[in-house]
């Protein structure tokens, strides 16, 4: 890591990466034992496991950069809503299996492009984490894309449900490509790309998969924002944290 880098911006960037995987991993883990078919139970647990593993790496580094003596667990289990930096998309409820897999694909497609770019980061740690995460993501995006196609181009009911999921989730996609001062600092330091620059590849990938799935992308979707900046999360995040952080909050300072 370069000495001249804006450490606050770097820490914010790392929280954005780690909070996305933490909150999405948590949401996916809520499925445990309730999937439509055994293979999906295995795949969902595996996806959640990968995402929580990536969280550990991002938040470890975020805690180090912060330099306040906090650990990745402290960041995960002892922050309140306003300090989380994940995009709103990942904190939305699971809904039915179709909504869960649609959300997964919309995230995986972004992650596949983002992690590809981050493998060229000027920051060695970021590069290493991205390399590991990209291998896992390659499998995730293949599976979520296949499932979206299978269900979109399946029965009338599965098509209808997948279109409803896409209509509901798509307004939350735009936030992934918003740029602010933190992003500008990361671009300046060569740590991470400008999020807006990922949009073209993303649209091409998502457009291809939705065409195969016979699903229609909403035109001119509104953009819900506020997660990455922490200015306004959804009401859902607080409830998620109530569950996730309960033991650490109820019995502070214990070793588990």
């Amino acid at each position: 890591m370069a000495d001249t880098i804006d450490r606050t911006a770097l820490q914010q960037f790392l929280l954005r990466m780690g909070d996305n995987t933490l909150i999405l991993g948590h949401r996916v883990s809520e499925w445990c034992g309730h999937a439509p078919v055994l293979e999906e139970d295995i795949a969902l647990a595996n996806t959640a496991l990968d995402l929580i593993g990536q969280t550990q790496l991002w938040l470890d580094y975020a805690a180090e950069v912060e330099g306040a003596g906090r650990s990745a667990d402290d960041l995960a289990f002892l922050r309140d809503v306003w300090d989380f930096r994940n995009v709103l998309l990942v904190e939305l409820p699971n809904g039915d299996f179709g909504q869960t897999l649609m959300r997964q694909f919309l995230y995986d497609a972004w992650a596949s492009i983002m992690l590809g770019r981050l493998q060229k980061s000027a920051d060695e740690r970021v590069r290493e984490i991205a390399e590991k995460a990209a291998k896992e993501n390659a499998y995730h995006v293949e599976r979520s894309a296949d499932t979206v196609v299978g269900l979109g181009d399946g029965t009338e009911e599965s098509h209808r449900r997948m279109q409803a999921a896409l209509d509901y989730l798509y307004p939350y996609v735009g936030e992934l490509f918003e740029s602010d001062a933190t992003d500008a600092a990361m671009v300046e330091a060569g740590v991470a790309p400008d999020p807006a620059g990922l949009r073209e590849d993303y649209d091409a990938l998502v457009g291809r998969v939705m065409a195969d799935a016979t699903l229609r992308l909403p035109e001119k979707a509104y953009v819900h924002r506020g997660g990455r900046s922490g200015t306004m999360h959804t009401e859902h995040l607080g409830h998620l944290l109530c569950t996730m952080q309960w033991l650490q909050r109820a019995y502070p300072g214990c070793r588990w």
Partner: protein
């Protein structure tokens, strides 16, 4: 293993004179430790008993995800959450191996699932108990997986080839499960007063249900005698229960926890611990559907199956469309 009270012929073991020529040749192979494979001739009752036993074991792995899934979203650290996810993922994988083994005997996974949901097939009584504190994740790994291992290790030598191979893969993963459970108990037993209280409470609640996992005494059971002659059961329930108690008591002592049995004591003459039998009336109540969580467990599985129907149908329809498109090209 998670199979309890599996019925076989109910008629007792035939003598060689009573056996047909096929049956004699079959028994000779078993006695010589030659594995029986799916295409080999086998008595119909052997096949049916195996379907019941492997199916019950598979269902137990699937339902067994639920008591632990209950704590995945509340795991106290990122590492604990990952370990628990990996464990539950393993269990679903074990279910998959076992259903695949049962399918070689001519019954489909969907048929077995329907039988589970209708109550025709059972799963282990242990999964009808609730997981109330984080220490229960420790107790489940330490005691429940510990009891399962007792039965699964000998079953690696079972006579049916696909079942034996599934058990070999499963056993490799189960010992990791038990270790992580004991590790949680260790942290809790060495932790704050509240954590110690959770650990002791978990042991209190899971001790007798764990002893019940082996099933009631089958020393005089004609079903077990037949299963043992066929080598689809290797030890009696009492042998395994004793082995489990003998192994677990020193582990509890090391943790500084008390086994909830005032009459538990070392019997030097027998070279084993004497212990109190579980309340078998409670066991039969649980088996009949009256355990603390039977309604929730089967309700969860039924909901997953029914709410997932559109997904299975959608994916199937897509696969058919794709196959038709490829055929048309």
């Amino acid at each position: 293993m998670y199979a309890q009270m599996v019925k076989s012929t109910g008629k007792g073991v035939k003598t060689r004179e009573e056996m047909s020529e096929d049956e004699r040749a079959f028994q000779d192979k078993i006695d010589a430790d030659t594995k029986i494979e799916p295409r080999d001739w086998m008595p119909e009752e052997y096949r049916k008993t195996l379907v019941r036993q492997i199916g019950q074991h598979a269902h137990s792995e699937i339902v067994g995800q639920l008591p632990e899934g209950n704590w995945i979203t509340r795991a106290p650290t990122l590492e604990r959450k990952m370990i628990l996810l990996a464990k539950v993922q393993d269990e679903a994988g074990h279910g998959l191996y076992l259903y695949a083994a049962a399918e070689t005997l001519g019954v489909s996974r969907d048929e077995m699932t329907e039988d589970l949901l209708s109550g025709k097939m059972k799963y282990s009584s242990i999964f009808n108990y609730p997981t109330l504190t984080w220490a229960d994740m420790g107790a489940v790994g330490w005691l429940v997986d510990g009891a399962a291992i007792m039965n699964q290790v000998p079953l690696q030598r079972t006579s049916y080839g696909p079942y034996s191979r599934a058990m070999i893969r499963i056993c490799k993963e189960e010992s990791f499960h038990q270790r992580q459970g004991y590790d949680i108990m260790m942290k809790m037993a060495q932790g704050s007063p509240e954590q110690k209280r959770m650990a002791q409470d978990a042991l209190n609640r899971f001790w007798y249900p764990s002893l019940m996992m082996f099933g009631p005494s089958d020393a005089d059971s004609v079903h077990s005698a037949q299963s043992m002659a066929w080598k689809i059961k290797i030890n009696t329930n009492d042998e395994l229960r004793q082995k489990f108690v003998d192994q677990t008591v020193p582990q509890a002592e090391y943790l500084g926890l008390s086994i909830p049995d005032p009459d538990l004591k070392w019997n030097a003459e027998r070279g084993h611990y004497d212990f109190t039998e579980p309340d078998w009336q409670e066991f039969f109540d649980v088996i009949k559907g009256n355990g603390p969580c039977n309604t929730e467990r089967l309700g969860d599985r039924t909901r997953a199956w029914e709410e997932g129907r559109w997904v299975r149908e959608g994916l199937m329809a897509h696969a058919n469309k794709r196959a038709a498109r490829i055929a048309a090209e």
